[in-house]
Symmetry: D4
Subunit: 253 residues, 8 copies
């Protein structure tokens, strides 16, 4: 019992008479007795994250060794939780596959996933718009994350503001979304234009794409923070995962 | 007819037979014939904003003269729209009051408001948490904005991370919110801690409160962008209005 | 003889027989004998600037005392040159008016002008677009400069990207321009959108309008430098004068 | 019919009677019926760019895979448009050559080109001045771009301000240009000196050449933005392409 | 006699009668006659450091060749001093082992150590807390340093603020420490929370772990400098050694 | 009972028989029943701070109104706690004096103090060294804070590195300290030199004194963070209070 | 005897027989017995500075109260030393004049001076070149300092690179100098051009003159540090005094 | 005749009667007729540099291909000038050696040198002090440059401020110098301390040695620019060559 969904399932079964209240009580006590996290020495895997926040702990691959990633992944999967590793190298995938044979690697997004039955479905669609072809890896990290978290998604790629007609033709899809993730490098102007067109929460992801005075995505980041349009909030440079997690929270409200 | 609400009211009256379809058609044609914005020379007031985005155009007082603010305010109110002026000086209020006598000035938030019947009600509560006493003006800008946009709000002030027990005691209110605005200066750590406690979208507002290496809020901004917790997105430094607008969009979904 | 126009006038008169070649020769020798600049101790007024660059030396008021400005202004006007002082305070204007009684002060643009017969006319129109009402002072510095330099201008104010329809309605005027000056603060996205719509050189002027992570116009500056659209070049923050001078050079080609 | 030139050719043939008005009408309808862009999934190739802006869409190689570049290149060439890929690796060239056999690789400029009959000729000469030997790759990107866009060009390399006589000897060529591109790293002083000598629009390109407090070209960029000379506008660090595109726009006016 | 401990041992033996005062005097004169440092040409090894500061000179491996490191290491060990080389590559270790066969390499911390009898024992325990798994290398540099300097240490890893229960469960160990080293990347919020829980000096070490707007640890650094909690001081990014040295000074008071 | 000292006093009286265990029990229960903080609406005054951290909550005057400061001060004093307000204006002092008549204002340090019997005495001396005369206000903030927290202090002012003999003459006092606070602006070199002379923890305080490339203390801050000497940790620019609080924690170990 | 000059005078008198060796010995002993500095509590006035460095201690007015400045000035003058106070307000001058009646205030340079007989004469001329009229205050700080330190100076003002002929006409004076101080704001290009013309050490002083991306002189500073010309070293922004002190050291070699 | 020395030799021979005035006249005319630079297409080699500035043009290897470096080197040597290539790779050396067989490579300094008879001797000694072992490569670039330019040099390495006794013991050598180059990374405090000890011009070279908040040498650079000591000027990060060139100019006065 490490997710909201499992908890809800249990209570529904009690309500429907499929589970005896005494049994349910036993299972609940057992669940709370379990340590809320498992200490692997180098990591404390948080098993109550899903109850608290609606999705199990996600592993940020950056700065961890393949062995560490695999050990954490094994622990998460063993508890019945869906697995998501971001910023994962092909090497890390090999290590994970050895302990979680069913895991999938999405090379374009650099994420490892393994789906289990603990994730609830979101209500509407999340649009993921990318300004240019070079922004696609970050957009894909967002797309894979949002999908795994139970959301329907819609990709709109290469709709940057230098050719507005490419964007204006997609107004219907944008308006229909419950949340829009806008991924853009360079001057990062796309979120402002999108938020000016529709009344949907826009989560802007600056990318490190660009050169010179882009300063690794700083230009896009500052542009998005200073958006003249209403409804834009911003996550860290290249943080496709973070944007998707927020969009998913909104889509599950 | 300059808002979603007016449009919906009309259609409902047609459905209930209170308004004749032919009449409704006339009114709709007239509305679409009207210019979508009024050109005052120095400003083009956007009268379709509310239809497009759910709330009429908001006036950012910063960098405008009191006379300009008053002229725009008069134009907005004349169309039957609710008025919100942010970053408004007492002087600007005097000018606005002369043309919109019923306008109110919230000095603690530096905003001018005038409420009309064009705003729909949000679904749940928005929590506005502020780390320290000095962050209150920004929090109040968010609170006044969110209220005017039709949301129930709950203020939690002075709950910074240096005294965790002040925050941990408010867990119930935090979990019950549909969106949480977290306002913090200095190191900007509060959004991470809040987002770690609950599964609600957190909109983080860095403030320029601090000194030295705070660099006018840069430290808090960077801290929030680099949050290790899932579910945090960020708006510009001191942008209480922007955070409230996003929270309101989420709360109206 | 301190301008291209005077030189051209002389040569045309020689061609038409209105001036005798010997006379013309005398006048030319005299002109070249004159020192190319006048040393006032604290300033060396450049009297060949107009011959070299098509417009007499312009006085940047910033950092000069009113007395210094007035002395330079008197020297420029005495040579028959058109006078332009930028970043001029009302106080500086008083000092200038005492020595150049016909000088005009444009308070909205903070410039002092005095027109003489030494400026040639440009070929087409320069459009000056401003994203928001707060950007108008910088736009006006550009407009006054461009006019004084002999150009027809067209102002399009408050056409920021948060309400695209305000801009899209002006496509015809934008396409008809020989150069477009785009003035914008905050995220500085307007030049990218404009340059994507038309094939005209766009000179982007970031303004210091904004707050927080605008960092005094840095966000807009970086945004413009990283424009994804072709045809955008950038001048210093708030440098309306500089943009107008370039647009005028282009319009006089 | 994807360029201004093709459109003009058609209309001239109608005027001269070489094409029947009815035929022309058919062709125009067909052209407008075509989608203005081709959606390749990862990219939307903009086929009206040339009509709108005078030159077909240019491919920025940075951040794209060789396969993506080749696919976009094939699409552009198939429409009869001239091809320009910037920041192209030798690897990308191999991929492009496979689908566009006639394409050329300019290794010194890192650009791939393939010329077709859709580009109109500019009016005068564009001078490309480089301060030092190390700035040549960026200058060559500008030179190759400007040539492909139909301009006569003149290269002046290694004319930095530490040896003024090298520059002063080229005054005649500088004055004769319709636009001057000045490429410089380190302190970026060359544009100021050039713009002080002549009355021609100067497009300044800071390069990332330098070390230490050059901060990847930031010093040169700031220097150029703060130029004390009139007539200097600036593009992004190392953006030779962007400078050439602007110079070409000016040269085609 | 190159350490405080040796000096104290000698004086205690004089006090206890084990060493004759005349002998002690001879040895002291000899010690002071020795040059306080050994000049190796490229380095001046400081042999009085231990007397002055309680621990012999530590070798920062960064920027030194393996040969230089080995030569300095040999000189230090020859004087009877404990050896600590930080930021040491495996290559440097090979060179050191050739001249100091008993030296140990701690790959996780990138330090080389060789323990001798010249270090006094600290009084209490130093806690080393790390926010995430990726911060462990820096934490280990601190841990190895603190141990070598004679301190008992306690490691608490992966106790970041996104899962507060992991930290709150360790309150007893934190309160019992004489100094706490807190290692954190990203937003660097952990030191504020720890310092708010206990009344022990906290030495905060920002790490370069993170991406995007982490700017190589700058975000964490600024966060820690702006801590709203009392009792936090900060060392350079990734400077685990520096933090341990300070904690050890405090623990030896 | 809001301080460690009061708790210790009570337990000692129980031990000595001066207080009856039953009475003590009553008083303890009452103390724990009291809310750990008092919610004033705009501030939650933390009354357990002293128990947790050894000194009552300190009021940072910056960004608070005089009325807010006075209300918080009254609340703190009413609980029997020592009062310290930093960054306090003369105006704030007037407001505080009205509710805490015995409060003192130290204008040179901009702090308000009111001493009560709840602070324990530190063990040794804290040296406060200031590089230049202009650094004295920050040094005084540290000095007043350290004194109020129960420490003996020793001031060494104007001992900057440009005249080393002024510092070298004070070596004895430096060595005798249990902690040294070093306050310096400009290049911030003094902490490195001091830490090289002695084996005492050095807390470095950069000041905003300087001009130009001092960037408001950034130069000194970076200098101190990069100290080549062992034993230096750093607090925020101008944070004399923070340095004193840490030194006091060390001096109370 | 607090200066090199006094020491030299004495020794010359001994050599010439004007002073008896025994007398000289007495005076020397007395001089060395005197404390090398006077401790005023808030300042330690360094009376051996002149012997060590050739000019008495200079008072930086910035951040000191008028009373502190006056007290230090009195102490310096009483020892027979020449007085120089930089960054002095008119208010500070009033305080100094009260204790040093003969002191002079140079308002254009914001320095207070009082000349005594302890300064030796330099060998050649120091040229002080300023790019623009607005740079004159900093140039004057340099000029007054250099004069007081015993140097012949030559001012060349308003010789910026936008009008090269103004500079090229002064080549003879530049070549004749023993050191050249170049003061420039904006892009700071003048030192590179000057150093390219002559083989004389150039000390570059960036000024905070400029706006926008000048960032308070940062652009000029970076430009000067990255100078492509040989022979340029740089001092802090607006540090006219520092440049003059170095030029004077060179001129006294 | 491409150097001051050759010019001086000729004139002395005329004076001594060794060369006939008519011959000398011929040679001088020929020299002035020669182009002052040789245009290699990618570089214009400046052959009057030595006459103008006392040392022939130096080749900065950074950003040039080995072939370009070799071609320039050949041109310089062919004119009888001494060759100095800085930032030269081993690869570049191979290319140079093929055309200048006698050239030497100093790997520790990354410079290529070839000495000819055109350099005059300096008057005194230049001290080159380096704070740490890691700063030696930059110090060696300075040392090799200064030697080649005809100066006696004295190396003082590893004399950083963390162990002052290592520096204080070298006071005599420091005082005897005509110029001191101080090379330091980290906090860059050494120049301040050196300049406080002696009255000799100090040229400070920040190095990129350090980590974390060193920001590639920025911390050291800012520290040096903000030096509280008189007599310090600064060159670019790692610019050992530039410092040596200035010191040599001073030493040749």
């Amino acid at each position: 019992m490490t997710s909201n969904k499992q908890l809800q399932d249990l209570l529904e079964k009690v309500a429907s008479g499929d589970v005896d209240p005494a049994d349910a009580r036993e299972r609940l006590i057992e669940a709370f007795r379990a340590r809320p996290f498992e200490d692997l020495g180098f990591a404390r895997v948080d098993h109550h994250r899903s109850v608290r926040q609606g999705f199990p702990e996600v592993v940020l691959g950056l700065g961890k060794t393949s062995a560490q990633i695999a050990a954490i992944a094994a622990e998460i999967v063993a508890r019945g939780s869906t697995l998501l590793v971001t910023r994962a190298s092909a090497d890390a995938y090999e290590a994970v596959k050895a302990v979680v044979p069913g895991a999938t690697y999405h090379a374009d997004a650099a994420v490892i996933t393994f789906r289990q039955q603990d994730v609830t479905k979101g209500k509407g669609t999340i649009v993921i718009a990318a300004a240019g072809t070079s922004d696609i890896p970050v957009a894909e990290e967002a797309a894979r994350t949002a999908e795994l978290m139970g959301n329907d998604i819609c990709r709109l790629y290469d709709v940057g503001v230098a050719g507005l007609h490419r964007l204006l033709g997609e107004r219907a899809r944008l308006s229909a979304a419950r949340a829009i993730i806008v991924v853009a490098g360079m001057e990062g102007a796309l979120p402002s234009v999108v938020a000016g067109l529709v009344g949907v929460p826009v989560i802007a992801v600056p990318t490190s794409i660009g050169y010179g005075a882009s300063f690794g995505g700083l230009a896009a980041l500052l542009g998005m923070l200073n958006s003249c349009a209403t409804g834009v909030s911003v996550v860290n440079i290249d943080n496709g995962f973070g944007a998707a997690a927020i969009a998913s929270l909104i889509n599950h409200l």
